[in-house]
C-alpha cells in the first residue's frame, strides 16, 4: 500500500517537473521555439525522466525484494541457541520469527527457554529491519528524485539536445521489450533443464528414454516395496505417436483438399464464407474439443464398435468380435480423430497461404498448354508448393504432440506400449498434467519427472518447428 502511495507521489512529482522543464525552455527563448534545438516538451520529458525513473526503480525493487533482503539480513548473525538446531529447524525458526514480527502464520513448533528469548529478539530485529528497508527505500527514492531534478534542470539551454537524450531512454525501453522474448526462451530452457537435471539425479536418462515401464508411484513409507517407481517413458512416446498419427490421417487429406479447393476452385464468394467459418473452427478452445471427444465421440465410437462386435460373435471372426464388444470410451482413436478435426483448419490455412504464394504465371502456363485445372494442381502447383506443405504438416505434427486438453479428457491414463487404435493409451502431455495437478511435494522424482517429460516435449517440438520454419522461409524467398 505504502509502495503504491509512494509511486503515485513520484508520478505527480515527475509530472510537475515536466511542467517546470517545459516552462524553463520556453522562457529561455521567450516563446520563439525556433531558437531551441528540441521542442519544449522534450526538455520537460528529460527533466521528468531523471526526476521520476531512478526513484521509481528503487521503490519498486524494495517492494519486490525487500522481504528477501530482510530474511538474509536476519540470518547474518545466528544466536548460539539457534545454531544448535538441526538444518531444517533453523529455516523454520527464522520463518517463525518473521511470522511473529509481521503477524503471519507461524508453524506449530513450541519454543522454550533460550530459543524463546532468541525468537523474540529476532522478531524485534525483523520488525526493525522491515522498517529500515521500507523507509530507507522511501528516503532513497526522495533523494534520487530531488537529485535527478537538480542534475537535469540546470542542463536546459537552447542548444541542449533534449530530444536525442529522451530518445536514448526510449531506445533502452525498446530493447528491454525485445529482450523479453529472449528471456522467455531462456526461462523455459533454464527451468526445464534445471528441474530435469534434478530428476535425472535419481533416474538415469537412459532408463527414462529407453525404459518400457511407466509407473510413477512413490511409496509413502521407505520400507514399502515400490519405493522408486518406474520411469520408462517409451509407452508415453508410443502413445503420443499413435494419437498424432491418427490425427494426421484425419487432418492431412481433409485439410489439404480444403486448401486446394479454396485456393484453386472456389469463387470469391464461397471463399469469403468458408474461410471465416474455418477460422471459427480454429478458434474453438481445445477444452471444448476435449468435452466433445469425451462425451459425444467416445460413446458413439464405443457403441458402434460394441454392436459391430456383437454381430461378429459366433462368426468366423469370433475372437475379434469379443474384443470389439468390450472396447471402452477412452480409445486412442477417439482422441486422435477429434485432434484431427482440430488440426483441419490449421493445415488448410497454412497450405492455402503457401499455394497462394505460387506465382499465377506457373498456372497460366500450364492451363495454356491445355492441362485441366486438376492436372495443373497436381503437376505444377503442388510440386512447387511441396516443401511449404511439408513444413505445414510438420507444424501440425508439432501441434498434435503438444496438444494437452483433448488427450487429458479423452485418452486414458494407462501406460501401454501398443499401436492398436482401439486400445487405451496415454501421452506425454497427459502424464505431465496428472503428475502436476493434485497434491505435490516438490522434491520427489514423481513431480520432477514431469519436467523431464516437458523437456523432451520441448526439444522434439523445437526441432520440428525449426525445420518447418526454415523450409517455409527458404521457400518464400524463392518467389519473392
Amino acid at each position: 500500500m505504502l509502495t503504491w502511495i509512494a509511486l503515485l507521489a513520484l508520478f505527480l512529482f515527475s509530472g510537475a517537473t515536466y511542467a517546470f522543464g517545459r516552462r524553463k525552455a520556453q522562457a529561455l527563448v521567450r516563446g520563439q521555439k525556433g531558437a531551441l534545438h528540441s521542442l519544449p516538451g522534450y526538455h520537460g520529458s528529460y527533466v521528468a525522466l531523471w526526476a521520476g525513473l531512478p526513484a521509481a526503480l528503487v521503490v519498486l525493487a524494495a517492494a519486490m525484494f525487500g522481504g528477501r533482503m530482510e530474511a538474509a539480513l536476519l540470518r547474518a548473525d545466528i544466536p548460539p541457541a539457534v545454531a544448535a538446531l538441526q538444518g531444517q529447524m533453523q529455516d523454520v525458526f527464522f520463518d517463525d520469527a518473521r511470522a511473529l514480527a509481521h503477524g503471519g502464520q507461524a508453524s506449530e513448533t513450541a519454543y522454550d527457554g533460550d530459543l524463546r528469548v532468541a525468537l523474540e529478539a529476532k522478531a524485534q530485529q525483523a520488525k526493525r529491519l522491515e522498517q529500515l528497508i521500507r523507509y530507507g527505500a522511501l528516503a532513497a527514492g526522495a533523494v534520487l528524485g530531488l537529485a535527478g531534478l537538480a542534475l537535469a534542470y540546470p542542463r536546459i539551454s537552447p542548444s541542449f539536445r533534449a530530444r536525442n537524450r529522451v530518445e536514448g531512454w526510449i531506445a533502452v525501453l525498446f530493447i528491454a521489450c525485445a529482450v523479453t522474448a529472449i528471456l522467455t526462451t531462456v526461462g523455459i530452457v533454464a527451468s526445464l533443464v534445471w528441474e530435469s537435471w534434478r530428476f535425472f539425479q535419481s533416474v538415469s536418462p537412459i532408463d527414462f528414454l529407453l525404459g518400457t515401464d511407466w509407473d510413477p508411484q512413490i511409496a509413502m513409507r521407505s520400507d514399502q516395496y515400490a519405493t522408486k517407481g518406474a520411469f520408462g517413458a517409451v509407452p508415453l512416446f508410443v502413445g503420443t505417436f499413435l494419437i498424432m498419427l491418427i490425427a494426421m490421417i484425419v487432418a492431412a487429406p481433409i485439410g489439404l483438399f480444403s486448401a486446394i479447393y479454396l485456393s484453386e476452385y472456389a469463387r470469391p464468394l464461397t471463399r469469403g464464407v468458408v474461410k471465416p467459418l474455418l477460422e471459427i473452427l480454429a478458434g474453438v478452445p481445445t477444452v471444448v474439443y476435449g468435452f466433445f471427444a469425451a462425451l459425444t465421440v467416445g460413446p458413439i465410437f464405443r457403441e458402434g464398435f460394441n454392436s459391430l462386435g456383437r454381430l461378429m460373435i459366433g462368426g468366423p471372426l469370433d475372437g475379434l468380435g469379443v474384443y470389439l464388444s468390450q472396447v471402452q470410451n477412452q480409445m486412442a482413436l477417439v482422441a486422435g480423430a477429434v485432434m484431427g478435426i482440430m488440426l483441419i483448419p490449421f493445415v488448410s490455412s497454412l497450405s492455402d497461404d503457401i499455394m497462394n504464394a505460387v506465382p499465377q504465371s506457373l498456372r497460366d502456363g500450364s492451363l495454356a498448354m491445355g492441362a485441366t485445372r486438376s492436372e495443373t494442381v497436381k503437376k505444377v502447383v503442388l510440386p512447387a508448393a511441396l516443401p511449404g506443405i511439408m513444413a505445414a504438416m510438420l507444424l501440425a505434427v508439432s501441434r498434435a504432440i503438444g496438444e494437452t486438453m483433448i488427450v487429458t479428457m479423452a485418452a486414458g491414463l494407462q501406460a501401454k506400449t501398443t499401436l492398436n487404435p482401439l486400445d487405451t493409451v496415454t501421452t506425454v502431455t497427459v502424464q505431465i498434467v496428472t503428475l502436476l495437478t493434485g497434491d505435490q511435494e516438490f522434491d520427489s522424482p514423481k513431480t520432477l519427472s514431469a519436467f523431464g517429460l516437458g523437456l523432451t516435449l520441448f526439444v522434439v517440438t523445437f526441432i520440428l518447428n525449426v525445420i518447418a520454419l526454415r523450409i517455409v522461409q527458404k521457400y518464400r524467398e524463392q518467389y519473392d
Binding site: 529472449i182 483438399f257 483448419p345
Partner: protein
Amino acid sequence: MTDAALPTDKAAFRQGLETRLKKRYAQERRFRLYGQLAITLALGFLVLLVGRIALQGYSTFIDYQITQSIYVDPAKVDRSDIGGANFDLLVADQMLARLGEKDDEFGETSGKMMDIISNDFGFQLLKMVKADPTLIGKTVKVTGPVKADAALYYKGELKRSTPEEERKLDNRQLTWLDRMQASGAVSKGFNFGFLTKSDSTEPEQAGVLGAVVGSAMMLLVTAVLAVPIGVLAATYLEEFAPKNRWTDLIEVNINNLAAVPSIVYGLLGLAVFINWLHVPRSSPLVGGLVLALMALPTVIIATRSALKAVPPSIREAALGVGASRTQTVFHHVLPLAMPGVMTGAILSLAHALGETAPLLMIGMISFVPGVPEGFTGAATTLPVQVFIWENASERAFHERTAAAILVLLAFMIVMNLAAILLRRRFERRW
C-alpha cells in the same frame, strides 16, 4: 492403301482422343469433388460440434422453482441459537405436509424430500431469520430451485420408464414431483442463477460468475503486459534494429516461441513464477503472467506484419520534414498500423481466453466457490471451470459444462467479431 486406311485411323485417333479427354474430364470432376467433400466434412464437423454442445447445454438455462410458504416453528428454531436449527428439515417437513405425507421416525421420508429440493431453501430461510429474528413464529414465503436430478426429471432426461434401481430418484419421489407440478407450485423460468452465481458442489446452485470474473481479471493482466511489450518489441525489431546476427536470432526465436506447446509455458510458470518468485498459486496474477508470455510472440508477429504494410513513403515524408526516427514511428507509422495491431492483439487475447493446459500447471484446478477476491486470491477461469465440471460424476454437471462452453464460445465470438469489424472498418489499401 494408306489413303483408305487413313480415315479409319483418323476416326480411331479421334475416338482415342475423345476417350482420353473424357477420362481427363472425369478425373477433373473427381478431383473437384474431393475438394468439395473435404470442405463439407470440415464444416460438417463444425456444425456437429457446436450443434451438439448447444443441444446438451441449452436446458441449463431453464430452471424449475418452487414457492413454498413456511411456518418458522418456534418449537424447532431456537431464538438464542438460530444457526443451530435444521432449516432443511423444517422445509422438507412442510413440503411433505403440503403433499399430505408425514415424516417417519428415522427421517427417511424427509431425507427423500431433501433429495429433490435444493438446500438453497434452508440457506435462504436461515439468512432471513438471522436478519430478522421476529420472523420466528410467522410464516414466510421462500422460492428456490429443485435439486438438479429433479430438474432432469422435469426436463424429461430422467425417465420413469428406466428401472427404479438405475435412476437417482425412486418412484415415490417422482410421484411427489408430479403432484407438486400438478398443484402449480412449480414454475419454469430462465435460469438467471447460472449467470449470477459461482461454483458450488450442488449442481443446481452452480454458476459461472466466478469463472467469468476470473477470466476477465486474468485477461486484464495479460493485456496490460503482452500488448505494450509486444508492440514495442515489434516496433523495435521492424523499425530500429540493425539487421545482424542478434536480431536474426531474436526473430527466429520469436517464431519458435509462437509454436511452443502451451503446456510448456505452464511448466515455466510453475518453476519460475511460483517456485522461484513465490507469486501466489492459482491467482489471476500468475495466470495472467503465464498467458502474457504465451501471447507475446503472436502479438509481436501481428504487429510486425501491420508495420510492414505501412508504405515507406510515409516514413520518408516524415523524415524529410525533419522528424526523428522515434517521432516518425510514434506520430505516423504506429497510428497507421494501429488497426492491424489491435486486430492481432484481440485475436491473441481470444486465444489466451480459451487456454486451459498452462493454467492447470499453476494450480488453477481447485474448487473456488466465489468471485476471486483480488489479483492474488484464488481464482478459476471459464475453460478451467469446463474442465472441472466435465470431471464431475453427476450427470447434471454435464449439461452445465456444455452451458459453460456456450458462454465461453459467446465471449470468443464477440472478441473475434470485434477483430473482424475493426479490420473492416479501418482497413486501408495503399
